[in-house]
Symmetry: C2
């Protein structure tokens, strides 16, 4: 994490090349398939929507190994177009053959924006979510696919995304700061003054992707944004923002804000939700932690409120930035802008 | 790990800047201090040599947070010159003050090759070891310090380094390959053909730094190189090589060779050894795993033998490459060259 990775304004083609190349490695696909919450929720959502899929045409945006395409074929799709820009598409071809579905699934190697399809589609399925929902911004491609290839009245799986925030007391980082006070006992050298430096290094402007435990969450979550995938535009994704207001459960210390998301699938009486909440089973997305510069003590009902804005970084449109204006109790409003460090893809958690 | 990091021939100054910058972050120092085997062995070695240190002048090469310098002052050194090129030197200044040793420890911010000292030294202490011993090649600076600043008959801590190799059956990677055969049971999609691709991705030409468990080691280790720090030259570090021969304990499958090191401190009847062997307590250096392209079955007394050569990469002199010629039993000699991926410093294990 510490290797100095100077931000450079990369050529868009280089950016895309770096991005798509990272998905050719096996680790990210292993992690995604092994994420049972993710893969199984998609599987159930697709099977539950088999009425809408049976005999129909499906477009899988960013198909990866093609597992969602195969779920759609299993749900009765007449044809699935599986579009994948990275070289993992070559593996998807083999997997589709192994599952004897090559007559129903076409793996199309290319970017969604440049490929051609022989027909409009009834359903779009895509697992486009990145860290903090919007990192790596594959949603743009889904919207492009919707506007160009989805029939009127067609289905999008998932159809809705929601963003949440809550104040937390992240104990992992507190333990790391506290480590420096334990050195004297262990080795007879007082290194307690390193805690200040450690705070500056750890509580920095990076969006830190780590699992947050439910015990660390200090209030009910506040939903600050909702995206309806049928209507949201590429332009609106340039700034996804909203306000939040949280009432703390009790006495504690806020040292960070925590952001996560859920996506909802259409169909059935109770819609299926894939949640990355710290209150639910952990996923490979974990949670996005935004450290405050200084911890703040809170009591029961202390208000943590403000506005949050998520937007693509100026250096690389695939990188997400998060700006937060927040106040805690009676303290005056503070602002901090966070971004995901370079070289931080889903394969490098 | 998977983000495409094209190897570029970096300007030496940029290389150094990247290298020294990475040590300014707190994570690497936290990891090194918390590595009890490392820090405590140095502490014991310094205290054991207090006869040679008391009233003498010490040079600490790559002092980091200055912890070894403080151990030397505690052992009675009259003066310690603590040379550190990265900005962690600023923290070392604070730590030395906190421990009231500013009269005896001078923190000198700069590279060993460019700084000046007011006097020759009696003792050089340095924790210069990188992954696979020679990654990040700080040993060159220790040898430079020895030739320029160490008095005739002076002491070097540690004074010897040894390199070992053994064939292993790395179960972590086998489990990862096997994962793809379990997908069908979980989700009804046969992805077993991904194992081939996974093997190419995982069993690649990277030096993989991971802990190896003692159960995975298939023979007694073979020592293939030894460096006497009093006599070894910078020129000799351009190619550290040796032969090895291992007799397998019993029936198993070799899928990798494992390389590790130990360093030995002078003094006392039984020399103190800091070992990173898989047979000993784990350290932050873990072990260096060199995957074979294909696993090979072995029996009791099957010979695994060959020659190994470690040398700095042509792209970056701080990056280590390992070339191995090996034969297993009756199979013909094979060759493979490994290197540590870009951006892989001790802070990014």
């Amino acid at each position: 994490m510490s290797l100095c990775t100077k931000k450079r304004k990369l050529d868009k083609n280089v950016q895309d090349h770096l991005y798509f190349d990272s998905y050719a490695d096996v680790t990210i696909h292993e992690e995604m398939i092994a994420d049972h919450v993710r893969t199984n929720t998609y599987r159930m959502a697709i099977l539950r929507n088999s009425n809408a899929i049976e005999g129909k045409v499906v477009l899988d945006v960013g198909a990866g190994t093609g597992v969602l395409s195969i779920f759609c074929a299993q749900a009765g799709a007449r044809k699935v177009y599986a579009v994948e820009a990275s070289s993992i598409a070559d593996q998807a071809v083999k997997i589709v053959k192994l599952n004897k579905m090559e007559d129903r699934i076409d793996i199309i190697k290319g970017t969604l924006e440049t490929i051609d399809l022989p027909e409009q589609v009834d359903v779009i399925v895509s697992e486009w979510m990145g860290y903090a929902l919007l990192h790596e911004s594959m949603l743009n491609s889904v919207l492009f696919a919707r506007d160009k290839w989805l029939k009127q009245g067609g289905l999008i799986l998932p159809c809705k995304a929601e963003l949440y925030i809550a104040p937390i007391n992240d104990l992992v980082s507190e333990d790391r700061l506290n480590f420096w006070s334990t050195v004297k006992n262990q080795y007879g050298v007082d290194m307690s003054c390193m805690a200040d430096f450690a705070r500056k290094c750890i509580m920095n402007n990076d969006i830190t992707v780590n699992p947050v435990t439910v015990e660390d969450v200090l209030s009910h979550p506040s939903k600050f944004a909702e995206l309806d995938l049928f209507t949201v535009t590429v332009d609106q994704l340039k700034s996804v923002k909203g306000t939040f207001s949280c009432d703390c459960f009790g006495s504690s210390t806020v040292n960070a804000l925590c952001v996560w998301f859920s996506v909802t699938f259409p169909g059935g009486e109770k819609p299926l939700v894939l949640s990355t909440s710290p209150f639910k089973q952990e996923t490979h997305w974990k949670q996005a932690i935004l450290y405050l510069d200084e911890p703040v003590d809170v009591e029961q009902d202390t208000k943590v409120e403000g506005e949050i804005n998520m937007y693509p970084s100026a250096e690389s449109s695939r990188h997400i930035c998060i700006h937060v204006d927040y106040s805690i109790g009676q303290l005056k409003m503070q602002s901090k802008t966070f971004s995901i460090p370079d070289g931080y893809s889903e394969s490098q958690p």
